[in-house]
């Protein structure tokens, strides 16, 4: 396990993976408490979700959640992939595919959250 000498991206990316993980845990707990324990319970409806998403504070929190989640998740997949893939061309291909997926998730997610009006 190359825990400390992380050859793809160095110690900064390694640190960022830990840091985003920690922040994501806080955001996840907030998200769960508000969305499922306070607001909607087990059943969510447009009315309940729209009221929350339409406020600037929640737009900011949800956008941050999305950006950090996409980074942490896809960087994790990249960590796994680069552990097993030895060929350079394949690394470039997988990295490009992950960047495309990041682009799609961020575009779709941010376009849902930011311009949203209830």
């Amino acid at each position: 396990m190359q825990k400390y000498s992380y050859k793809n991206g160095g110690v900064f990316i390694w640190f960022l993976q830990r840091f985003t993980g920690f922040v994501l845990l806080g955001l996840l707990l907030t998200h769960m408490l508000v969305e499922h324990f306070t607001l909607g319970g087990h059943e969510l409806s447009y009315e309940l979700v729209a009221k929350r998403v339409a406020t600037p504070l929640w737009k900011t929190i949800d956008s941050l959640f999305l950006v950090l989640g996409v980074f942490h998740g896809l960087n994790g997949v990249w960590m796994i992939a680069s552990d097993y893939i030895k060929k350079d061309w394949l690394k470039v291909l997988v990295f490009s595919l992950l960047l495309c997926l990041a682009g799609i998730l961020l575009t779709l997610g941010l376009l849902t959250v930011i311009p949203f009006k209830a």
Binding site: A50, K86, L90, G109
Partner: protein, 133 residues
């Protein structure tokens, strides 16, 4: 392409299991994130589209998947905290015990969450309701 299989490369101990489970649950969570973003984007299409999507999620397959999601999130979070602590140099000597605490705590939280979620599925879901006397 040369694949190095973890089973052959690493000795099996609790750390190996923790590491492998962290990767498997992480992969599952990325799949869930993609699904979640796609489902949530129906919010922009108006109340009818979004609520019909929510109704689709009442299907038992999604409800059981929700408990699996809980398990993946709880394990990945708790083990993530363990990894962070060990990386910070906290409790390095106890990392093996910490792993078993992660497993025990995950088990308790998933059982509690499941007990909270499952009876609701039985009562609220028309498909489940049909199975009741």
């Amino acid at each position: 392409m040369r694949l190095e299989i973890p089973f052959a490369k690493y000795a099996w101990h609790s750390g190996t299991i923790a590491w492998l489970l962290h990767r498997v649950t992480g992969g599952a969570l990325i799949f869930y994130l993609t699904l979640h973003v796609w489902i949530t984007h129906h919010l922009g299409k108006g109340p009818e589209e979004f609520d019909s999507m929510m109704k689709l999620l009442m299907h038992p397959a999604f409800r059981i998947g929700e408990i699996a999601l809980l398990a993946a999130i709880v394990y990945h979070s708790l083990n993530g905290v363990r990894v962070l602590l060990v990386d910070l140099g906290i409790g390095v000597r106890h990392q093996e015990q910490m792993f078993w605490w992660v497993i025990a705590l995950s088990f308790v939280l998933v059982v509690l969450g499941g007990l909270e979620l499952f009876p609701f599925y039985l009562l609220q879901n028309p498909i489940f309701k049909g199975l009741l006397p």
